[in-house]
């Protein structure tokens, strides 16, 4: 049981207003696995993420997380895409990390190009913004990544970059320690993308879970 990241036992949960969403959910997420949560609108995907992060209470059952909150990075859906600040992508990385970020710090993630760093946040593409937010999360050296719909509005190239990165992040490695990721993805992933992960797929519409495609 040493490599367990999340242990959910008979979990039942509801919306903040009390509307029941799911009952009797049991699963175990282990190190180097990706938990993919999918399902139709309103089935409770984002609420489950917030329960996994400890932001919402559970109705029944238990949720145990074995990676501490300070080693967890959460990337929610964007409420707004533009900000009042005239930020560059470099600013976003700088202030989230508390110091001036150099190219050497972010080059290993292979998510952004050096010439993109001076792009204004408000004029950057959706893919550039998401890659910046992912780089921002990775600079904190997390062991658990939690994403809400990270693939929304991404073009083919950005999507492939995200998948490549996730596969690298979850690749077993002694030097990096145990890692895991949780991802809400409305429509799931195509088969060729799924094959790149040791994946646990949770379909909230049918309440089934299993390895690979559910």
């Amino acid at each position: 049981m040493n490599d367990v990241v999340y242990d959910l036992q008979s979990l039942s949960y509801a919306t903040p207003t009390g509307r029941p969403l799911q009952t009797g959910l049991t699963l175990t997420l282990r190190a180097n696995q990706l938990l993919l949560i999918r399902g139709s609108n309103g089935c409770g995907k984002s609420t489950l993420l917030k329960i996994l992060l400890g932001q919402f209470p559970v109705m029944k059952g238990s949720v145990r997380r074995y990676i501490p909150p300070e080693r967890t990075e959460y990337m929610p859906q964007l409420e707004n895409t533009e900000v009042h600040f005239p930020l560059t992508l470099r600013d976003v990385l700088d202030f989230s990390h508390g110091r001036r970020i150099t190219w050497d710090d972010i080059a290993p993630f292979e998510l952004l190009r050096e010439d993109q760093l001076d792009t204004a946040w408000n004029t950057a593409s959706g893919g550039e913004r998401k890659r910046t937010l992912l780089t921002r999360a990775l600079l904190k050296n997390p062991r658990l990544l939690v994403f809400d719909e990270p693939m929304n509005h991404l073009d083919g190239e950005s999507r492939q970059a995200m998948i490549r990165f996730m596969a690298r992040f979850l690749k077993p490695s002694e030097s990096k320690g145990e890692r895991a990721a949780v991802m809400v993805c409305h429509q799931g992933l195509p088969e060729d993308e799924e094959r790149q992960f040791d994946m646990l797929c949770l379909d909230l519409d049918s309440m089934t879970s299993g390895r690979g495609t559910a």
Binding site: T72, T88, F95
Partner: protein
């Protein structure tokens, strides 16, 4: 003129420090989309000041009479922040409508308080429109001290506070771990104190203008980067406060705060026009260079 400068040296210091402190605070509040809420909090502070002056009228000239209205302003602003936060909690839509309702309510409350204490009529105009020239040395010194403290907090916590503003703007709430939320309370407290103090001593108009005019106007400048925006906002606010104040000293019928607001607007127009002209000249230069040295255009067949 020099004797006037000597007479108003503390007022000038207070204006030159309060203006950038409010402007930098305004950048963060505007990014958090809290401009309407800030109007409510400012109005709450105004009701607090008026109530403080009204109820503590008999203590005028004593330390309680001087500090009491500020204490009431801080208390009322804190209540307004908590109440408005609760009112809009969990709502993404109609926030501004609810803030407008609170603003109207507080406007009515302010009017009622001033009606209850007839001596407040002159204070009401002072608190609304402000007049730097009427600040006492003590008021100016307190304003300078608090503004300096506010500037220090904003400078030391610039990255952390900006990170929080960014998260609130794009995610709707804070998502970074508790360890990365350094300065959350320091920012809230300094916002509350600076707003209350500014409304009491410098007036509602000066406060709101300094909070939101520099960042709104400078957002049209195509400067890239947060640092450049901070510097531009601070410089424009200081220059407007100083130029506006000197103009109002020169032309006695010119009210101080409206003069400062107008100077800020004109200064921003000059900066924006200068920037547009510079970009036009740079683009024209590039175009003429490319005409003299045309690059071959290549095209490939699609698959």
């Amino acid at each position: 003129m020099m004797s006037l400068f000597s007479l108003y040296k503390w007022t000038i210091v207070a204006g030159a420090l309060a203006a950038p402190a409010l402007a930098l605070l305004g950048v963060q509040l505007a990014t958090r989309d809290r401009a309407m809420q800030t109007l409510c909090v400012g109005q709450g502070a105004m009701v607090g000041v008026l109530a403080g002056i009204g109820f503590l009228h008999s203590f005028e000239g004593t330390p309680l009479g001087a500090i009491g209205p500020l204490g009431c302003a801080v208390l009322l602003s804190a209540i307004t922040i908590i109440a408005t936060d609760r009112l809009v909690a969990g709502r993404m839509a109609s926030r501004n409508t609810l803030f407008a309702f609170v603003f109207a309510f507080l406007l009515g409350a302010g009017s009622l308080v001033s009606a209850a204490f007839p001596a407040l009529e002159s204070h009401m105009a002072q608190v609304y429109f402000g007049d730097l020239a009427t600040l006492t040395i003590f008021d100016s010194q307190v304003t300078s001290l608090v503004s300096l403290l506010c500037l220090t907090v904003l400078a030391v916590l610039a990255k952390s506070v900006s990170n929080q503003s960014f998260e609130l703007a794009i995610f709707g709430n804070l998502v970074s771990s508790a360890g990365d939320r350094r300065g959350t309370w320091a920012f809230k407290i300094i916002t509350l104190v600076m707003l209350s103090l500014s409304v009491q001593f410098l007036g509602f108009l000066f406060t709101i203008a300094m909070l939101f005019l520099p960042t709104s106007l400078m957002s049209f400048v195509s400067s890239k980067g947060l640092k450049a925006h901070f510097i531009l906002c601070a410089l424009v606010s200081i220059a407007s406060a100083l130029i506006g104040f000197v103009l109002s000293l020169n032309y006695t019928r010119l009210p101080t705060v409206p003069a400062i607001v107008m100077v800020m607007f004109l200064l921003s127009v000059v900066i924006l026009s200068g920037e547009r002209l510079y970009r036009f000249v740079a683009r024209a230069g590039e175009a003429s260079r490319s005409l003299l040295d045309p690059q071959p255009i290549t095209a490939t067949n699609g698959t």
